[in-house]
C-alpha cells in the first residue's frame, strides 16, 4: 500500500528546474545586474581619475581626454558607464528601501525591479539627450 503510494508520488513529481523553459526570475536578474554594474563602475573610476587629472594638467591634456571621449568607442564606453551608474544608483535606492523594511515581498520586489529597469532606460536616454543639447548638437 505504502509502496504503491510512493510510486505514484514519484511519477507525479515535477522535474525542476525545467531548463528548456526556465525563465530567470526578475529579482535574480536585478541582483546579478547590480553586481555586474558595480564591478563595471569600479573600473569606471579610472575614467573619472583620467578626467580630473587631465583637467588639472592643462588644456593640452584635456584635449587628449576630450578627443578620446568624443571618439565613437569613447562615446560607447561612456554610454555604458552612464547606464551602469544610473542602474546601480536606482537599484541601490531599492536596496536601501528594503533595508528600511519597505516593499520586501515578492510582488513588490518584482514590480520595483521592472520600475528600476524602466527608469534606468528613460533616465539614461534623457541624460544623453540633454548632454548632446548642452554641447550644441541639433542647432
Amino acid at each position: 500500500m505504502s509502496e504503491a503510494r510512493t510510486k505514484v508520488r514519484a511519477a507525479a513529481r515535477p522535474l525542476a528546474p525545467h531548463l528548456q523553459i526556465y525563465r530567470w526570475p526578475i529579482t535574480m536578474g536585478t541582483s546579478i545586474l547590480h553586481r555586474i554594474t558595480g564591478v563595471g563602475l569600479a573600473f569606471g573610476t579610472l575614467l573619472l581619475a583620467w578626467w580630473l587629472v587631465a583637467a588639472s594638467e592643462g588644456p593640452e591634456s584635456y584635449a587628449v581626454f576630450e578627443a578620446a571621449a568624443g571618439h565613437w568607442f569613447g562615446r560607447f564606453v561612456l554610454f555604458g558607464f552612464t547606464l551602469a551608474l544610473v542602474y546601480h544608483a536606482m537599484n541601490g535606492v531599492r536596496h536601501l528601501l528594503w533595508d528600511a523594511g519597505i516593499g520586501i515581498n515578492l510582488q513588490a520586489a518584482n514590480r520595483s525591479g521592472l520600475i528600476v529597469y524602466g527608469l534606468t532606460l528613460v533616465t539614461t536616454l534623457v541624460i544623453w539627450v540633454v548632454a548632446y543639447q548642452s554641447m550644441g548638437a541639433w542647432q
Binding site: 573610476t45 581619475a49 580630473l52 583637467a55 551608474l85 535606492v93 548632454a131 554641447m135
Partner: protein
C-alpha cells in the same frame, strides 16, 4: 557533550571577524552617494564638451571642488567594500584571494589620492 547552551558557548568571544561594520559602512556610503551622484550627473551633463577654462572655473569653486573630492572618496570607499565581497565570493584559492584583496586596497588608495590631488591642484 556540554550542558552549555549554544548562546553560552559563543558569548564573550566577540563577533566573528568584523560583525556588522562592513554592512553598515556599505549602507552609509550608499546613502551619501545618492545626493552626490545626482550632483555628479548634473555636473557631467552641464560640462560635457565645455572648453577647458570653463571646466576649470567650475571645479576651482571650493563648493564644487570639495563635492567632487567627496564623490570620489565616498564612491571609492563604497567600491572598495563592494569589490571586496565580489573577490571573497568568487576567488576560493587563499593565496590568489589575498593577493587580489591587497591589490584592490592599493589600487583604491592610489586612485583616490590621484583624484584628490588633481582636485586640489585645480582648487589652488
Amino acid at each position: 557533550m556540554s550542558i552549555q547552551t549554544p548562546l553560552g558557548r559563543v558569548r564573550g568571544y566577540g563577533s566573528a571577524k568584523s560583525g556588522t561594520q562592513h554592512f553598515w559602512y556599505q549602507r552609509m556610503t550608499a546613502v551619501a552617494l545618492v545626493p552626490l551622484t545626482l550632483w555628479f550627473v548634473w555636473a557631467v551633463v552641464r560640462y560635457t564638451g565645455a572648453p577647458h577654462a570653463e571646466v576649470m572655473s567650475f571645479l576651482s569653486h571650493p563648493v564644487s571642488g570639495i563635492a567632487m573630492a567627496m564623490f570620489v572618496v565616498v564612491g571609492l570607499v563604497h567600491m572598495l567594500l563592494g569589490a571586496k565581497v565580489v573577490i571573497e565570493d568568487y576567488i576560493h584559492r587563499e593565496s590568489t584571494k589575498i593577493a587580489l584583496l591587497v591589490l584592490l586596497h592599493f589600487a583604491v588608495f592610489a586612485v583616490a589620492l590621484t583624484c584628490v590631488v588633481a582636485v586640489l591642484r585645480i582648487l589652488t
